[in-house]
């Protein structure tokens, strides 16, 4: 049965960190982006504030790009082209900022430096009221909470397999999603998602002092990194030194520093994994470090 794919309600923090895609083998089998919480996402239903839109095509053949903020600091990226005629017509009449909802398919693309980005191709984009926006935040928070609990249930089983999950009452697709997520990303950090739920509840209940007792200083993943050479040069060179020192320290056997170890140490030094990525790129450009293979980074 070619039943229509479910539209997942999820926050950008979950969608944008997904990097693994299960490609459909033929026209009829759909592709899925697998999130850290095990959602196999082909279609999404998201809402928020359209903060900017731009026609990067032409007057005759528009190609719209836009950014929708779901919660403070989180953004969905949308692309509307000629194959989304309904959405293309609709977005032309929507001016930013505006509350909007989008139903669409997710697509990933990989940059030259191997980073994966997720964007949405809307089938529908419509203006909504603030009330419906709050309703969506609630739905997405509830659904995130359910996935978090299901993931917890799954990881409680030792060496969990798809079959184990089906026996435990998961449907086949969800079981596949969870095992794929665990294979690809490992056990997810629940604090990240609890923080998102906390932000969602604070948005809906601004007067209530919502506090889940989570570490406040956890670095929010920046949605885009624009390191401008001039402005942050000083700061950067400090960070570069820190990383270079770490590389030397972690290179115990001459093979270089293992990436996962480097990431952990960098994080304790207050450098997020995305910043680390950026800094190591700069260092590679400068010819100070190289990658003997994908898992290692070595100082020259």
């Amino acid at each position: 049965m070619n039943a229509r794919e479910t539209a997942w309600r999820l926050f950008s923090s979950e969608l944008n960190t997904a990097t693994h895609e299960i490609k459909g083998t033929d026209e009829k089998s759909p592709s899925y982006v697998v999130t850290h919480l095990g959602a196999m996402v082909n279609r999404v239903l998201v809402a928020g504030v359209l903060t900017e839109k731009e026609n990067v095509g032409s007057e005759d053949e528009p190609m719209w790009r836009g950014r929708i903020q779901d919660l403070a600091s989180g953004n969905f990226f949308i692309n509307i082209g000629r194959y989304q005629p309904e959405a293309a017509k609709a977005i032309a009449d929507i001016d930013a900022p505006e509350f909007v909802a989008v139903i669409g398919k997710v697509k990933t693309y990989t940059t030259e430096d191997e980073r994966v980005f997720v964007s949405i191709r809307p089938e529908r984009i419509i203006k909504i009221t603030e009330e419906i926006r709050m309703q969506w935040i609630l739905d997405a928070a509830k659904s995130t909470w359910i996935r978090l609990n299901q993931m917890k249930k799954a990881t409680a089983i030792e060496d969990v397999s798809e079959k184990d999950l089906i026996t435990a009452g998961f449907d086949q697709k969800y079981a596949q999603g969870i095992t794929t997520a665990l294979d690809q990303y490992g056990i997810p950090n629940s604090t990240t998602y609890l923080k998102t739920i906390q932000t969602a509840l604070r948005t809906i209940l601004p007067d209530k002092n919502i506090d889940l007792g989570l570490p406040e200083d956890m670095s929010q993943v920046p949605d885009e990194i624009d390191i401008e050479p001039g402005a942050t040069a000083q700061n950067n060179s400090d960070l570069e030194d820190t990383i270079l020192n770490l590389l030397e320290e972690l290179d115990t056997d001459g093979k270089g520093a293992p990436r996962d170890e480097l990431e952990r140490r960098a994080e304790t030094a207050g450098i997020s994994s995305m910043e680390l990525e950026e800094i190591s790129n700069i260092l590679m450009d400068k010819g100070l470090v190289y990658e003997p293979n994908l898992r290692y980074l070595k100082r020259i």
Binding site: M1, N2, A3, R4, E5, T6, A7, W8, R9, L45, A47, E86, A90, A101, I103, E123, R124, I126, K127, I128, E131, I132, M134, Q135, L138, D139, A141, K142, S143, W145, N149, D171, L194, I197, L201, I204, L205, K208, I210, L212, G213
Partner: protein, 441 residues
């Protein structure tokens, strides 16, 4: 696989290997195959047999295949030989991707159990009921928790003489399983259900040119309701509660129906159903996809799309079918009647369902009346404008719809009898979620 589960395989192999390797060596081999390489037990056995040269002479390994009793089939065998007696055989012609094809299906069994089978290349195969055959190079699958035996192009059928097989008793009357009415779906086989008769009427029909009376109606328990047809007169009355043993299920366009056939037993029971919600049973879309369809089902979800064919449409005044231009496929050139309707896609986060909403409910949900729609269409000189204007009024609305659901290749579809905008108290629900999360941390 743990040690305990391994014991029967270990013993079986020991017998076949007949002292060619000692126990420790065999244990080590099995451990290597199963735990270091994670292959299936079948593959492990085959590999070890091959290695120690007992493959071709073995009692249970022939070339690459393993022989199994019907009752031992797991539903994941890739290549298996089965010697069994045919309990039931049916040859039929089906269409596969536009090509006519003859398949043979039925039931085979031995003293350990029975299972349905399908021979996919049935062109030159003749099977007699009650005879014993070797099904060579078969593969098995699991469907609705039952093992199915398949014989594809690699498969072979060989009649076996000189042996006797007694098919187990329980197979002849296929297991009847106790079920709640709401859980019944197409393909469950025989069922035993209890429920209260909501309605019943006698209908005269013709079966194989013979007039016959069937008693059909609706029976319900607190999980749902289902249409039934009794092919014999059990004196069923509205309002009484009955237990139906050995009824069978047939589905029409995904809607399962309960049939009380010749093997069926009906007994009166005490009514323990209390208040049966005769109006509708609440389900998620995932539930509906699982059962295929049903009567008076309610579902709540968000409207995620308005499909073409929504808004102002033209209908044939004779047959009420929707028409394009002014041509009816049955009645030719007509003067169409205008009507308002919506073809919605509703998604509740567990799946998506199509829903067809009539004129009255369309007005209720969108505020657009038939008159207003006609006026708008006239002003713009086209009728499609109505559907376009309607989309932003209904998409993203959370609604509850109730009606009969059926399924086809594109998923479930509901003919909506009633529809309402769902009002949620976001603040209260957010507070509830906060409490849930806090309590769990």
């Amino acid at each position: 696989m743990n040690t305990e589960e391994l014991i029967p395989h270990f013993e079986e192999m020991k017998k076949v290997l007949n002292g060619k390797i000692d126990d420790d060596q065999l244990r080590k081999e099995l451990d290597t195959y199963l735990n270091a390489y994670h292959v299936t037990i079948e593959a492990a056995k085959r590999g070890i047999m091959r290695k120690y040269g007992v493959g071709d002479t073995s009692s249970f390994v022939t070339a690459n295949t393993i022989s199994k009793k019907v009752g031992d089939l797991k539903g994941n065998e890739m290549n298996v030989d089965i010697t069994a007696k045919t309990v039931y055989v049916d040859k039929k012609e089906i269409t596969v991707r536009g090509n006519q094809k003859i398949i043979i299906s039925g039931i085979i069994g031995d003293e350990t159990g029975t299972a349905p089978f399908t021979i996919w290349e049935g062109e030159n195969v003749e099977l007699e009921k009650g005879e014993i055959y070797l099904f060579k190079n078969a593969y098995t699958k699991k469907w609705n928790d039952r093992v199915q035996i398949n014989l594809g192009s690699r498969g072979k059928i060989e009649p076996i003489k000189d042996i006797k097989i007694d098919v187990t008793e329980k197979t002849i009357t296929i297991d009847s399983q106790d079920m709640k009415i709401g859980d019944i779906h197409d393909g469950v086989g025989n069922v035993t259900v209890s429920g209260r008769i909501i309605s019943v009427e006698a209908r005269n029909i013709i079966v194989k040119e013979e007039p016959k009376v069937v008693y059909s109606g609706i029976i319900a328990d607190n999980s749902g309701k289902i249409q039934f047809s009794a092919w014999n007169d059990y004196g069923l009355k509205e309002g009484e509660s009955i237990c139906v043993k050995n009824a069978y299920i047939r589905a029409w366009r995904g809607i399962p129906q309960l049939n009380l056939g010749d093997k069926c037993e009906v007994s009166r029971i005490d009514d323990s159903f209390g208040q049966i919600d005769a109006t509708a049973s609440k389900k998620t879309v995932a539930d509906i996809i699982k059962i295929g369809g049903g009567l008076d089902i309610s579902v709540t979800g968000t409207v995620v799309d308005l499909r073409t064919g929504s808004g102002l449409i033209k209908r044939c005044p004779e047959c009420n079918r929707s028409v394009l231009n002014d041509q009816c496929t049955t009645h030719g050139q007509i003067t169409p009647v205008l009507d308002l309707r919506m073809k919605l896609v509703i998604d509740d986060g567990t799946g998506a369902i199509s829903a067809i909403v009539n004129c009255e409910d369309t007005t209720k949900l969108t505020g657009i009346t038939l008159e207003a729609a006609k006026g708008l269409a006239q002003a713009k000189g086209e009728i499609e404008v109505v559907g376009r204007d309607m989309a932003p009024l209904i998409i993203m609305k959370k609604i509850t719809v109730t009606g009969n659901v059926m399924s086809d290749d594109y998923g479930p579809m509901m003919i909506v009898k009633s529809a309402n905008i769902e009002k949620t108290d976001v603040i209260a629900e957010a507070e509830k979620l906060y409490n849930d999360v806090e309590a769990a941390l």
